[in-house]
């Protein structure tokens, strides 16, 4: 649950975007779950699992503030105090269905791991990944290896110009998995695809369900993003 992991690589993969791999043996990790990572700040930083290979976990993170800057400065061999895996991930049992993955910016990382797992299970997926511009795009080839992949950029510098909602409108699928900024999630949650699962972000305290920092309104009361989510059936939450 809480352990010190060793950093095995930490490199820039796009503008202000880093990929970090850590060694963390003996943990079963579902796609869509996250780790709560200690920096010198008081509160931990939640990061989704972007991939798992053997006992190596990959995080992909955008450098936006003090905590992520500190992570970006870490060197191979340094250790990191992490809590996790936390939360509930995407439902993998989608046999016979067609799954569309819709990711925006820093919401893309968890979709890579879930796509890999679905691919291993023989489930067909199509990915729509939105970025602000070409310099922000990462993991495009890795995604293409696993199936059809549509890239959009807001400024049109790569792939289709505009937002992910445009290609989404023409895609046929039974299930939608999505992660990204709130505005995007709102839009995709309204899509006519029958089953829609979205992964939500919120500022967190404990990360384990005890402090009520991360709640989100739900049709019946509320849910806690950290322990009830971060992945929810879109019907379960009010964005």
């Amino acid at each position: 649950m809480k352990c010190d992991v060793t950093i095995v690589s930490n490199r820039q993969i796009a503008r202000a975007t880093m990929e970090m791999k850590v060694r963390c043996p003996g943990v079963e990790i579902a796609p869509g779950t996250f780790f709560h990572i200690k920096t010198s700040g008081l509160l931990r930083r939640p990061l989704s699992v972007a991939n798992v290979e053997g006992d190596e976990i990959t995080f992909i993170y955008k450098v936006i503030g003090e905590g992520t800057s500190e992570l970006a400065a870490k060197r191979v061999g340094d250790t990191l105090d992490v809590l996790g895996p936390l939360g509930n991930g995407f439902p993998l049992a989608q046999h016979g269905k067609r799954v569309v993955l819709v990711g925006g910016g820093i919401g893309v990382p968890p979709l890579y791991y879930v796509r890999r797992r679905l691919h291993e299970m023989g489930i067909e997926t199509i990915a729509i990944l939105g970025f602000d511009s070409q310099e922000s795009v990462f993991y495009e080839d890795a995604f293409r290896e696993l199936g059809e992949t549509i890239i959009t950029t807001v400024d049109g510098s790569h792939g289709e110009p505009g937002f992910v909602t445009r290609p989404l409108a023409r895609v046929e699928a039974d299930v939608l998995f999505s992660c990204g900024p709130e505005a995007m999630l709102k839009a995709v949650a309204a899509s006519p695809i029958p089953e829609r699962f979205i992964s939500i972000e919120n500022r967190m305290g404990c990360g384990i369900g005890a402090c009520f920092a991360c709640v989100c309104q739900a049709p019946e009361g509320y849910v806690k993003v950290c322990s009830d989510g971060p992945v929810f059936n879109a019907e379960e939450v009010l964005l």
Partner: protein, 308 residues
């Protein structure tokens, strides 16, 4: 036997208690370690009806501190009694109910109902929550109102009443003396300092509630000073809190005059922190040549003080 602390209504096997609002109703932490190792547990605030609390974001980080504006989210006193206390009753530790409200009547009703449950050993009267519009802090900044509320809740409660003091006052000793005179069995202090953070990109407060309560190591010097002043001004015991995260922080509060210590924000940084502090206490007492932890209670202001 060198860590036990006897307080009104509470037989603490050690002076370490998770603070209210930072430990939920224990369920999440019970998956991490056996809650029976704890001296006690201060559960999340209870109000008469269930409350959703404030909109999010509800937390923001500051330099060695955090702001929160949860807004007393809780399922309501009856749901707590029915759904949360049975689970907590399975542990060998003292459960302390945190009681909140918007009106004196609500405080009284919540205290009456929850104190009647045999799992509850004491009531913590939360007159100091800065994150709710009415109730909460207004009772905690006026000695006359605080005393009146204490009297009412004391009359309604079947268990000892500890009053939780707000640090957002000119004279914390005036507040402490007022609630002592009104019959409080003990004090818990401090609640959070009122603070704010503004987002530099937008120029707007980060918390949806705009202001929030500051907790964590940043406030420890203020908490220690207040405990030090109040311990010399009253004759009822103090359960201290504010920035505790190590065994030395615990000792600092005991030296300042506290009889036990609650751990809040540190549980977020390290969910095992209470267990680690409890494990580390005996060796630290040995190293400092302290026989029983309360032998040094109040040492910061007096050479020799007897156990409370």
């Amino acid at each position: 036997m060198r860590l036990n602390v006897e307080l009104p209504g509470l037989h603490l096997k050690n002076p370490i208690i998770p603070a209210s609002g930072c430990f939920g109703f224990g369920e999440e932490f019970a998956k991490l370690y056996d809650l029976s190792i704890l001296g006690g547990i201060m559960i999340k605030a209870a109000t008469e009806e269930s409350r959703f609390g404030n909109p999010t974001p509800r937390v923001a980080e500051t330099a060695q501190g955090m702001l929160n504006a949860i807004g007393l989210q809780n399922p309501g006193v009856d749901a707590i009694i029915e759904e949360k206390l049975p689970f907590l009753s399975t542990f060998d530790t003292e459960i302390i109910a945190n009681v909140a409200g918007s009106t004196p009547g609500e405080y009284v009703e919540v205290a009456r109902r929850i104190s009647a449950d045999p799992t509850i050993k004491a009531v913590e009267l939360n007159i100091s929550c800065p994150n709710v519009k009415c109730g909460g802090m207004q009772f905690g900044t006026d000695p006359v109102m605080a005393a009146e509320l204490t009297r009412l809740v004391k009359a309604a409660s079947s268990k000892p009443v500890y009053v939780k003091l707000s640090p957002n006052v000119t004279s914390i000793t005036d507040m402490a003396r007022a609630v002592e005179a009104a019959g409080a069995d003990g004090l818990t202090m401090i609640n959070t300092l009122v603070g704010m953070r503004i987002d530099i990109e937008t120029g707007r407060p980060i918390l949806a509630n705009r202001i929030g309560g500051l907790s964590g190591p940043a406030i420890k010097p203020v908490a220690v000073r207040m405990v030090y002043e109040v311990a010399q001004a009253v004759n009822i015991p103090i359960i201290a809190m504010g920035g505790v995260r190590t065994v030395d922080d615990v000792l600092e509060f005991i030296y300042a005059g506290a009889s036990a210590v609650a751990v809040g924000t540190a549980n977020f940084e390290n969910p095992y922190v209470c267990q680690e502090i409890i494990d580390a206490l005996p060796a630290r007492l040995d190293a400092l040549g302290i026989e029983h932890i309360l032998d040094v209670r109040g040492k910061a202001y007096a050479q020799l003080v007897s156990r409370p």
